[in-house]
Symmetry: C2
Subunit: 114 residues, 2 copies
DNA sequence: TCATATTGTTCCGGTAGCGTAATTATGGAG
DNA sequence: CTCCATAATTACGCTACCGGAACAATATGA
C-alpha cells in the first residue's frame, strides 16, 4: 500500500514523462504502453482478443501495437497449437529489460518527490 | 519523499495507463503530457523556446502540441507585450481540472498497490 | 537606418496510428 | 461434409505527428 498525495503523483508523473521524452528511444503510445505492461504484469496466456477486451479497444489496435512492439523487440507472437486460431503473445528479454528500467526510473524519481 | 519499489512503480504505471486508455477522451501523446505538466508544475513564464529546450525537442514540436492542446482547451497563448516575439503559454481552468483528476487517479490507485 | 539575430509559425514529404469493413484461417455443431 | 462461429489480420481512407527547412514578425546593435 502506497501513500501518495495527488500533487506528488503529478510531480512523479511529470518526471517520468520528461525522462521518456528526453531519451532518444521513440516513445510508446499510451495504448502500446498499456498493452506492454499488461503482457508483462498480468498472468499469461495473452491473446489479441483478450487484450482487446481488457483494454476496451478493437482487435486491429492490438495487432498494430504488437506489430510495432514486435519490430522493437519488446514482444513476440506464437501460434497456439491447441487452437490454431489463437495467437499467444510472449515476453522477450528486451521487453523485460525495458520495463525493468522503467520501474527503476520511476522508483528512483519517487525518492526525491517532496 | 516517497518509497516505491520498482515493481510497485510498474503496477502503478500500468493502472494509470489502463485508466487513460479505457476512458473515452483521446489520449495525449507522451510529449504533449510532458509539455502540459511542465506548464502546470514549473513556474511561469513559459515560452515555446523554453519548453523546447526543457524537453530536448524542436520548436515545431511545441507549436504543434500547443495547437492541439489549445483546441482541447488545456492551454492558451498570449503575446508577450514586453517582447512581442515571445508567446506566453498560460494555464486554463479546463487544463487544471484535467491534471487534478489525473493526480487524484494516480494517488487513488496507489492506495491499493501491494 | 539597416543589417543581423531571435522567436514562433508554417510548409513539405513521409510515417504511423485510427476506426470500420472485409478477408483468411481454423474450429465445432449438426 | 457443410455451415456457421470465432480469431486474427489486412485493406482502406483519414488524421495527427514527425524532422527539417523556409518564413514572417520583432528586437537589437553598429
Amino acid at each position: 500500500m502506497l501513500v501518495i498525495k495527488p500533487g506528488q503523483a503529478l510531480t512523479l508523473w511529470h518526471r517520468a514523462m520528461l525522462a521518456q521524452v528526453r531519451d532518444d528511444d521513440p516513445d510508446l503510445t499510451t495504448r502500446q504502453m498499456a498493452i506492454l505492461l499488461t503482457i508483462y504484469l498480468d498472468p499469461p496466456p495473452h491473446t489479441v482478443r483478450g487484450l482487446a477486451e481488457h483494454l476496451g479497444v478493437t482487435k486491429p489496435v492490438i495487432t498494430r501495437a504488437l506489430d510495432t512492439m514486435g519490430i522493437m523487440g519488446f514482444v513476440s507472437r506464437r501460434r497456439d497449437e491447441r487452437d490454431r486460431r489463437n495467437v499467444l503473445i510472449q515476453r522477450t528479454v528486451k521487453g523485460s529489460e525495458y520495463l525493468e528500467r522503467l520501474g527503476l526510473l520511476v522508483a528512483h524519481e519517487a525518492e526525491t518527490v517532496v
